[in-house]
């Protein structure tokens, strides 16, 4: 089989054979991730439906909870770490997040700005009347 022979590059530290890995450590990671995500989800639903929080702050609170839950997914399920193998993934993710931010924020700002500069309906009626 060629694949196992070539899967280790020169200088690569040989990976711990799967049989020697403690299965429990992986299980714990996923379970903690699930619990955290579940807590954040339930909290989001509660925030949206409660009157206990100052109303203008609710969207901000929901956004924070969503971002926190995305972080939980990234770390616990997608294994984004600061290890050397993960560096490229982190950099690509950072660039992706930058693009997403620019597209979203830019589009919202521009569309809001364009909307504000739209002529009001009343003005159009006046123009017609003036003929």
């Amino acid at each position: 089989m060629t694949d196992t022979r070539w899967d280790v590059a020169p200088g690569d530290r040989p990976a711990i054979p799967a049989s020697e890995q403690r299965a429990s450590s992986g299980f714990l990671v996923y379970t903690i991730g699930l619990l955290l995500a579940a807590i954040l989800t339930v909290t989001s639903f509660w925030v949206a439906n409660t009157s206990a929080i100052w109303a203008p702050g609710v969207p901000a609170g929901l956004a924070v909870l969503a971002i926190a839950q995305m972080g939980v997914h990234l770390v616990f399920f997608l294994h984004i770490t600061t290890g050397p193998d993960s560096t490229h993934n982190v950099l690509a993710l950072a660039f992706g997040v930058l693009i997403v931010f620019l597209v979203l924020a830019g589009s919202l700002v521009i569309m809001a700005n364009l909307n504000e500069n739209m002529m009001a309906h009343g003005e159009m009626m006046n123009l017609q009347m003036q003929r």
Binding site: A18, L34, V58
Partner: protein, 210 residues
């Protein structure tokens, strides 16, 4: 003469510095490549999110989000997808341990939960269209169906992919390329759950706020 020199045999456990270590193992390269694809997919979703955000209030006198969205359904869909992400994670652990039974069990649970999610979503779409809230009714509804529908399409494709991967696993066993493809699938599935977190927050939860 040749510019190349022969690489000496590397003693086990000795790490060369990055410029001498040679190409990375395939599992890392495949994961990184798929990660870049996922990021491009996320950029596409961000354009759909931006459109939804701009058009969320443009209901053209028709049904609004607050009238249409059923938070109980959204909560169940969220639970299904989150649990399917969890079962996908357990499936990844079984793959690492090369246990056939564990992998098939994890895959079946993931598939059933994903299918349940799709079922709820399709029912929701059907009910909305039946009561007149079709994609053509208003810009808000067009944006809603495009964004949520696109996510649902990704879930459906993921389910088909999962079935194909189980077929391939049964034929070829834990061949290197099969393991790498399963790793890519789990990345895909977890990313879909991340997108769903944003959907249920921005579309459903913020949609029903007064």
């Amino acid at each position: 003469m040749n510019v190349a020199v022969e690489m000496d045999d590397v003693r086990q456990g000795e790490l060369l510095n990055v410029s001498e270590a040679g190409p990375a193992p395939k599992r890392i390269i495949a994961g990184f490549g798929f990660w870049i694809f996922l990021l491009s997919d996320i950029v596409m979703f961000s354009a759909l999110f931006a459109s939804y955000a701009v058009l969320a209030k443009a209901s053209a006198g028709g049904p609004t989000g607050a009238q249409l969205f059923n938070l109980r359904t959204a909560a169940m869909e969220t639970a299904f997808l989150l649990l399917s992400s969890y079962s996908c994670g357990l499936m990844s652990l079984a793959i690492n341990s090369r246990q056939h039974i564990g992998v098939y069990f994890g895959a079946v649970v993931t598939f059933l939960l994903g299918a349940a999610f799709l079922n709820l979503e399709l029912r929701e779409f059907h009910d909305m269209i039946a009561m007149g809230a079709a994609p053509q009714r208003s810009a808000f509804l067009s944006a809603f169906f495009t964004l949520v529908g696109c996510h649902g399409l990704h879930v459906a494709v993921g389910l088909v992919w999962l079935v194909l991967m189980m077929i391939q696993l049964s034929i070829r066993g834990f061949h290197g390329v099969v393991v790498r493809r399963l790793h890519c699938f789990s990345l895909f599935w977890h990313a879909l759950d991340i997108i769903w977190v944003l959907i249920f927050t921005i579309v459903y939860l913020m949609g029903v706020l007064p």
